[in-house]
């Protein structure tokens, strides 16, 4: 089954950098009916409100997520892989553009 790419021309290969909103969606998704309480517990553990937008806040959130429980740890790992993929591809993309 073909998987349609994200609709973004600014990101390398259409891959967007994960955001706080993506993290919230992911926690709700994998925790099912306990998603809301898991998200609240995570924000409390990370000392965040959930409205932050900076890289530092996301990093803090993912660190707290990895230590929350085994399911959240997998959620954090999935987001870390997306974040690292984005970083690697953005760097390669920038290098290609600067030498073009």
């Amino acid at each position: 089954m073909p998987i349609t790419p994200e609709n973004s021309t600014a990101s390398p290969y259409g891959l967007n950098r994960p955001t706080m909103a993506d993290a919230r969606e992911a926690m709700h998704r994998v925790h099912g009916h306990t998603g809301r309480s898991s998200w609240e517990r995570l924000l409390h553990a990370a000392g965040l409100s959930g409205t932050e937008t900076g890289d530092d806040a996301l990093d803090r959130l993912l660190t707290a997520m990895a230590g929350l429980d085994p399911v959240s740890r997998l959620c954090a790992q999935a987001l870390r892989i997306r974040l690292s993929s984005h970083l690697h591809l953005s760097a390669a993309h920038a290098m290609t553009r600067s030498t073009a």
Partner: protein, 186 residues
């Protein structure tokens, strides 16, 4: 041809029962990953393939927990976004999945992974545990177009069975259905 958006894909892969089952294993244990690297190396050798992987497919990313020959940053990061991972197709299919030439295949030609990495062909089999959940896939990748045979799939299936035996020794959480869990060292 049916298509699926990344959000729909993440919802399918992130089904709580499946993710909870994956969370029963200590996938971050370096000793486990070393043993699965050996499984991948053996499969690559037997199938004369440059790359082999053991991976679980999480809600939004493929997490590589055993690898041989994985190129560049993908091996370093231990994964790729789920919408690019060829093992995602094996998990969704629930059976062996092969791609003879991804760059010429209408289902896969637009997948950025074929532009990012030197990949042309793929064969994977699902990793299914005793709960019936498909956790991920064991696969080989080749850099040239390749038609995989029944014998190739038999080798991969044996590697997947060995993987599941190893994973069972790294189960850390009790069975939600009440069955016994194996605790390493006990």
């Amino acid at each position: 041809m049916n298509t699926i958006t990344p959000t729909e894909l993440f919802d399918r892969l992130g089904e709580p029962a499946r993710i909870h089952q994956i969370a029963r294993y200590d996938l971050f244990d370096p000793a486990l990953q070393a043993r699965l690297d050996a499984v991948a190396a053996r499969t690559a050798d037997l199938l004369h393939a440059p790359v082999s992987m053991v991976s679980v497919v999480l809600d939004s990313s493929q997490f590589i927990i055993g690898q041989h020959g994985v190129p560049g940053w993908i091996g370093e990061v231990q994964g790729t976004p789920a919408e690019w991972a060829l093992c995602t197709h094996t998990v969704l299919a629930g059976q062996p999945y092969c791609i003879t030439d991804g760059t010429a295949d209408p289902v896969h030609a637009a997948n950025p992974i074929f532009a990012i990495a030197p990949i042309r062909s793929y064969a994977g089999v699902p990793l299914t545990d005793d709960s019936g959940q498909i956790l991920g896939a064991h696969c080989v990748i080749d850099v040239t177009p390749r038609t995989f045979t029944e014998d190739d799939i038999t080798v991969l299936t044996a590697g997947a069975a060995e993987t599941m035996r190893i994973l069972a020794e790294h189960r850390t959480a009790p069975d939600p259905a009440g069955g016994p869990a194996h605790h390493p060292g006990r």
